[in-house]
């Protein structure tokens, strides 16, 4: 991780720690707020081969407007001169091999910095800066903005970093990954991340506010929508639940080796694992997917992602041994580290990834190459009898990032026991289901073969004719196929595994339906408002310039209802799935920003029709990486 990414992460870390420790946020409450992160890079005029970015007053002024009006959000970032319709974030056309001077603007809205004393904050954050190669410029915002920005806390930090274009590119991907990781456990924090390099702009929203979550503890909640962790296979949408179902493990105390120097902790490090299968099967189909990969996510205190090392070496020594945390042999699985370092994916990328190499033993079972992923979340938290100070958390975090391997090695057996227990639980269920499925298939084949044997051996033509007619088969081969299919269908429904969330979704959907009908009238007015303002605004993500896209976007966003009904729609209409999560995130940001009545907009039928229409636009809409 180079300059820009390090800077951003250090700042975010500081802000979140400060938020939790110094501001009176109750321990169990989720952090809520919005952060805007904007990077602008330009070729440096002062230095050869360097990119220098100047943050103009205008652009600064625009940013708050984003937050205040809410409805228009990032569409406002239509800056003069930046009319390039191919505004892909990392295409730095014409600038190759040059250094960029990147300015990073971090702004905030909402309650994030309420009550913070600016000078104190500045002093504290400046103490961080020697560790990162960035210069801090502080802008004093009081009175410099128009009145409609009352909702914005007048606070911005501007950092200056020198970076090569490629490094900047990578850092932006890293930042996006970090933001995704953060919102996975802080679902009420939203990020507005924009990058503008030499006039080419890209903006992305990160937010999961209306998505299903699992409340953990200490003010963090895990997002359980499985779309963040794995891409669903379209043909089996209905076989899988849209959520993951994490199983929490026993918290274990981590032992710190004596030779690890650092601050004396007035508390304990507690590791709590959580395991889930993604996607979680809903219906046990004929071919159960096997585990094909494992993703490990590391989180430190307060739900901050643990960044262990550079992205070039994502797997530390400890994790290189795939059996360090879980004994795979008992499941006849052979795991190898997955060294695929492709950062440019819309999923939440794991910190450590394993993939199944080959299956020992049972050769007859088909290996599904796109099988299920076992998700392992490791939450390391700091518990103390005394009130925890900000610097203490900071110290704990630093300790973990530098000495996690040593700590895990020291606490290996307790950690492994705790994780193994829940992995056993999760996989056992999976195993039992697979076994039950197999147990069913074998006898059915025997039954079908026996019937076929009698049918084909019979010399009574009336009997044979009657059998063929009953199943409407033209010949014995077709008869056999239909017989097998009927047996499978009839027995299949006995083994449907209904997720509890399905039942809840159904109930919520019914409630939404009834709510929608009563709130139709006020909803319409907000739709008109949306249309008007959209006409003035630019694209939120891509600068296609095509008006048809904008027009389509209008009903797209209006059709976006809060997640329960959305998920139900997704379930009923498989073509909805292709829309990328970030698109959905963006849409949800919009929906959130609109008036409450908007949730009732559009009937389900319109939504389904619309989603069908945009299904084939997924590739066109999703951003592609630069060179």
């Amino acid at each position: 991780m180079e300059g820009t990414a390090v800077t951003v992460f250090e700042i975010l870390r500081f802000l979140i720690i400060h938020w939790k420790c110094d501001i009176e946020v109750s321990k169990g409450a989720l952090l809520e707020g919005q952060l805007v992160i904007s990077i602008e890079g330009l070729n440096s005029k002062h230095q050869t081969n360097a990119l220098h970015c100047v943050t103009t007053r205008d652009s600064l002024a625009l940013l708050p407007r984003l937050e205040c009006s809410g409805a228009i959000s990032a569409h406002c970032l239509h800056l003069p001169g930046s009319s390039d319709s191919h505004a892909l974030p990392f295409r730095v056309a014409g600038i190759t091999g040059a250094h960029h001077h990147a300015w990073l603007i971090v702004a905030s809205a909402g309650s994030l910095f309420g009550g913070m004393v600016l000078k104190k904050f500045l002093k504290e954050i400046q103490s961080l800066l020697p560790r990162i190669s960035a210069k801090l410029t502080w802008t004093s915002e009081e009175g410099s903005y128009s009145q409609d920005m009352t909702r914005v806390t007048p606070f911005q930090m501007i950092f200056e970093v020198d970076e090569k274009p490629r490094t900047l590119m990578t850092d932006c991907l890293v930042i996006k990954h970090l933001l995704r990781k953060i919102i996975m456990v802080h679902p009420k924090i939203r990020f507005n991340f924009s990058v503008k390099v030499n006039g080419i702009l890209s903006t992305e929203f990160f937010g999961v506010e209306n998505e299903p979550t699992l409340n953990l503890w200490n003010g963090i909640a895990l997002v359980v929508d499985s779309q963040h962790y794995a891409r669903p296979k379209f043909d089996t949408i209905e076989s899988y639940c849209s959520r993951i179902h994490p199983v929490l493990g026993h918290p274990v105390m981590l032992f710190i080796p004596d030779d690890v120097t650092g601050m004396d902790l007035l508390g304990e490090l507690i590791l709590t694992p959580a395991v889930a299968l993604c996607p979680s099967p809903k219906v046990f189909s004929n071919q159960l997917d096997s585990i094909s990969s494992v993703s490990i996510f590391l989180y430190g205190p307060l739900g901050l992602p643990l960044i262990l090392s550079t992205w070039e070496q994502p797997v530390t020594t400890f994790f290189k041994d795939t059996s360090s945390l879980i004994d795979w042999k008992k499941y006849h699985l052979c795991m190898v580290p997955n060294l695929d370092l492709n950062l440019d994916r819309d999923l939440v990328l794991p910190d450590v990834s394993y993939q199944v190499e080959s299956r020992e033993g049972d050769q007859s079972q088909n290996m599904d190459l796109q099988g299920q992923t076992l998700l392992l979340f490791l939450f390391v938290d700091f518990h103390s009898a005394f009130p925890v100070q900000q610097m203490e958390i900071w110290g704990v975090y630093t300790l973990l990032t530098t000495h996690l391997t040593a700590i895990l090695v020291e606490s290996h057996s307790v950690v492994q026991d705790s994780i193994q227990f829940i992995v056993d639980q999760v996989l056992e269920q999976h195993h039992q289901a697979a076994k039950a499925q197999q147990k069913l298939q074998a006898p059915l084949s025997v039954a079908v073969n026996s019937i076929m044997s009698i049918l084909t051996g019979s010399t009574r033509s009336s009997f044979r004719k009657m059998c063929l007619q009953t199943l409407q088969a033209a010949d014995t081969q077709e008869f056999g196929t239909k017989l097998h299919k009927l047996f499978c269908e009839i027995t299949q429904h006995q083994f449907l595994h209904r997720c509890s969330c399905e039942v809840k979704q159904q109930l919520t959907l019914e409630k939404k339906d009834s709510a929608q009908s009563t709130e139709d009238a006020p909803g319409n007015s907000s739709l008109e408002l949306l249309t008007d303002t959209r006409g003035q605004a630019g694209n939120k993500r891509l600068k296609r310039g095509s008006s048809s896209v904008e027009e389509m976007r209008t009903p797209l966003h209006s059709a976006r209802a809060p997640s329960p009904s959305e998920a139900a729609l997704g379930g009923s209409d498989p073509t909805a799935a292709p829309l990328t999560p970030s698109g959905r995130e963006a849409c949800e940001t919009h929906s959130r920003a609109l008036e409450p009545g908007r949730a009732s907009l559009g009937s389900r039928l319109e939504d389904a029709l619309w989603l069908q229409e945009v299904a084939n636009l997924s590739e066109w809409l999703s951003p592609s990486p630069g060179p």
Binding site: A442, S450, M466, L471, F487
Partner: protein, 396 residues
């Protein structure tokens, strides 16, 4: 002796002959042979048609999107068994059934195995070949798991289709032995003569196929254990008590042994006696010959000989003969439970003498094997005990 006279003098069998007369009279009074209910000897085409009907029902269920299931009579449930003195244990006409469903994980395996064995039976009947239960098990031992599974399914199918096992072209290997004044011709034309020699003849596996049974025997003696049977063979009992027939099932009798005993009774109507140990196990074996077993009650009419009498070893004989205590064995807990269970069975109520003997056993809490009589002399059984019993009517 150069030449021993064959059998005792004619007066020896007076009591036996009177007994036979009484049996025949009872038989005539009962209206001849009981009607053959339950299973019957079905023709091949009938068996094939039954199986095809079952398949048709399954396919029709599937076409209606219903999970097919077999309805099997609960052969092992006492509530489905009734007792008739003339027949013994038999299934009630409207017995409880259990469902073997194809959509239940617990029973889908059994459902499939029933179909598998049905298909094998279909092929056997079509090709007019026979196989034993063991052969069927070994066609796919992994699939079936163990022999008992196969045995039970075959019995279930026999009960379901209301045909005898023989009609299903499934044989059971016989373990029984027969010796004495009997000759017959097997289905394939083999002539068999069971006249005593040093060795006995194995009970044939196709009882229904034997014909032209000829015998002058005055009685049939069913011996529980092979050891006792061999002892009697060694002592030349058949010749000493000639004309007679001896038969053993070597413990719990198999179907063929029972079928043969029944056939001998049906053909000759001669008294049938049992010689069993004076213990609950022996009494139970005797009850199987006489009244039938619970599991095969659906075929009771072909298997039971209610005319059977208990010749020995009676618990009262132990006292009468002053058998020393060290020749006796205390009843185990299992013996006690078995004895209690036999005493509760419906047929004991019409056998007051048997009941009394069992009560003597229960009170003394002791049991004895037939070998206990060797304390008197090694050939006491064949030389004294049995002849006296037969001559003076010492049976109950």
């Amino acid at each position: 002796m150069a030449f021993a006279p064959m059998g005792p003098e004619a007066s020896f069998f007076e009591v036996l002959d009177r007994h036979r007369e009484s049996l025949l009279t009872a038989l005539r009074r009962g209206g001849g042979e009981p009607p053959s209910g339950g299973s019957h000897l079905a023709s091949s085409s009938e068996v094939l048609a039954s199986i095809e009907n079952i398949i048709q029902d399954i396919i029709t269920s599937l076409a209606r999107n219903e999970a097919p299931a077999f309805m099997i009579d609960n052969r092992s449930s006492w509530e489905n068994i009734k007792f008739e003195d003339s027949v013994g244990l038999q299934m009630v006409s409207h017995c409880t059934t259990r469902k073997i469903k194809s959509d239940s994980p617990k029973s889908v395996q059994k459902f499939a195995l029933i179909l598998k064995i049905l298909s094998m039976i279909y092929k056997l009947v079509q090709s007019n070949t026979y196989a034993t239960k063991r052969d069927i098990y070994y066609t796919d031992s992994q699939l079936f798991g163990n022999q008992t599974v196969v045995d039970n399914i075959i019995n279930d199918i026999s009960c379901m289709l209301r045909v005898s096992r023989r009609s299903l072209h499934i044989l059971s290997t016989s373990k029984g032995l027969i010796a004495g004044n009997l000759r017959y011709i097997e289905e394939d034309g083999t002539k068999v003569n069971c006249t005593c020699g040093a060795t006995a003849v194995a009970v044939p596996s196709n009882i229904q196929g034997i014909w032209n049974l000829v015998s002058d025997a005055k009685f049939v003696l069913i011996v529980e254990k092979d050891a006792t049977f061999q002892r009697l063979l060694d002592d030349n009992f058949c010749n000493k008590m000639s004309p007679c027939i001896m038969i053993t099932g070597k413990g719990v009798p198999d179907l063929n042994t029972r079928l043969l005993v029944k056939k001998l009774w049906d053909t000759f109507h001669i008294p049938v006696f049992t010689l069993v140990d004076a213990d609950p196990h022996g009494i139970e074996i005797m009850c199987i010959y006489k009244y039938g077993s619970m599991s095969m009650s659906f075929e009771a009419h072909h298997l039971t000989v209610p005319a059977i009498r208990w010749l020995g070893l009676l618990p009262s004989d132990l006292k009468r003969l002053n058998v020393p205590k060290d020749s006796l064995i205390p009843l185990t807990k299992r013996d006690q439970m078995k004895l209690d269970s036999i005493l509760r069975r419906p047929y004991v109520t019409c056998q007051p003498f048997w009941r009394k003997e069992m009560e003597i056993m229960a009170d003394s809490k002791m049991k004895a094997e037939i070998q206990a009589l060797t304390f008197l002399s090694s050939d006491y059984l064949s030389r004294v005990y049995l002849p006296n019993k037969l001559k003076f009517g010492g049976w109950i």
